[in-house]
């Protein structure tokens, strides 16, 4: 069964360092997403990406964040200068929305980012 894969599963970084989280979405999907979940809190939308550009972003997704689809299979989230409050589980998801038939997103297993 096709799945979204994320690497690494756990990343520890020093405050102020740049990190890149990587994702391989499901191959025939057209929409890609990043969400985050701070420990004990709800899953929060960060950004959606379609047709090689950002289609929607939340107020969390400020200038410190960027996304890229560097080739036909990978989708990345970069945090330029990490802060302690960026510590969270980051989930990548993908979808191929067909209205009234299937619009759900499928999630990867996440990257746990710890900023020290």
């Amino acid at each position: 069964e096709p799945e979204v894969t994320q690497t690494p599963s756990h990343q520890v970084t020093q405050m102020g360092q740049e990190v890149i989280l990587r994702c391989v979405p499901i191959s025939n999907h057209l929409y890609f997403y990043w969400y985050r979940q701070i420990l004990g809190q709800k899953v929060e939308f960060l950004v959606s990406f379609y047709n090689n550009e950002i289609s929607e972003k939340s107020e969390i997704f400020d200038d410190q964040f960027s996304v890229e689809r560097p080739d036909g299979s990978n989708f990345t989230l970069k945090i330029r200068s990490t802060k302690l409050e960026d510590s969270a589980m980051y989930f990548c998801a993908s979808s191929d929305p067909i209205p009234l038939e299937g619009t759900e997103a499928f999630f990867g297993q996440g990257t746990r980012l710890t900023v020290v």
């Binding site: 929607e56 759900e104 997103a105 996440g110």
Partner: protein, 110 residues
């Protein structure tokens, strides 16, 4: 602003004791309501999508229903392996952005 709330926050059931989880939503133009299951330290696992009031979907011991303001996830004769956090989410103004509720943590005791 689109909003999703879920109740109860936590639910403890004996094995075989059926119950329901509630999801209340406020969204301008519902495009889809989703139920996911999340195990500790894992990503959300898709269960159901509902599109319009009156719609129902079933999978094993789970049944999801939808009204204009709420969705219910009914769990019939649960087993310990059903223990997880159940997340409700909605897409409103666009398919691009899905808003999640805080989840209901379900524990099924043998």
């Amino acid at each position: 602003e689109d909003q999703v709330t879920q109740s109860p926050e936590a639910l403890r059931l004996q094995e075989g004791e059926s119950s329901s989880l509630n999801c209340s939503y406020t969204v301008s133009g519902l495009r889809g309501l989703f139920w996911y299951r999340q195990d500790p330290g894992k990503g959300p696992e898709f269960l159901f999508t509902l599109y319009s009031a009156g719609e129902e979907k079933e999978k094993e011991r789970l049944k999801a229903t939808l009204t204009k303001k709420e969705s219910f996830l009914h769990i019939t004769a649960p087993k310990p392996e059903d223990s997880a956090t159940y997340l409700c989410a909605v897409s409103g103004t666009s398919y691009d952005k899905v808003i999640f509720g805080p989840g209901t943590s379900l524990s099924v005791i043998p």
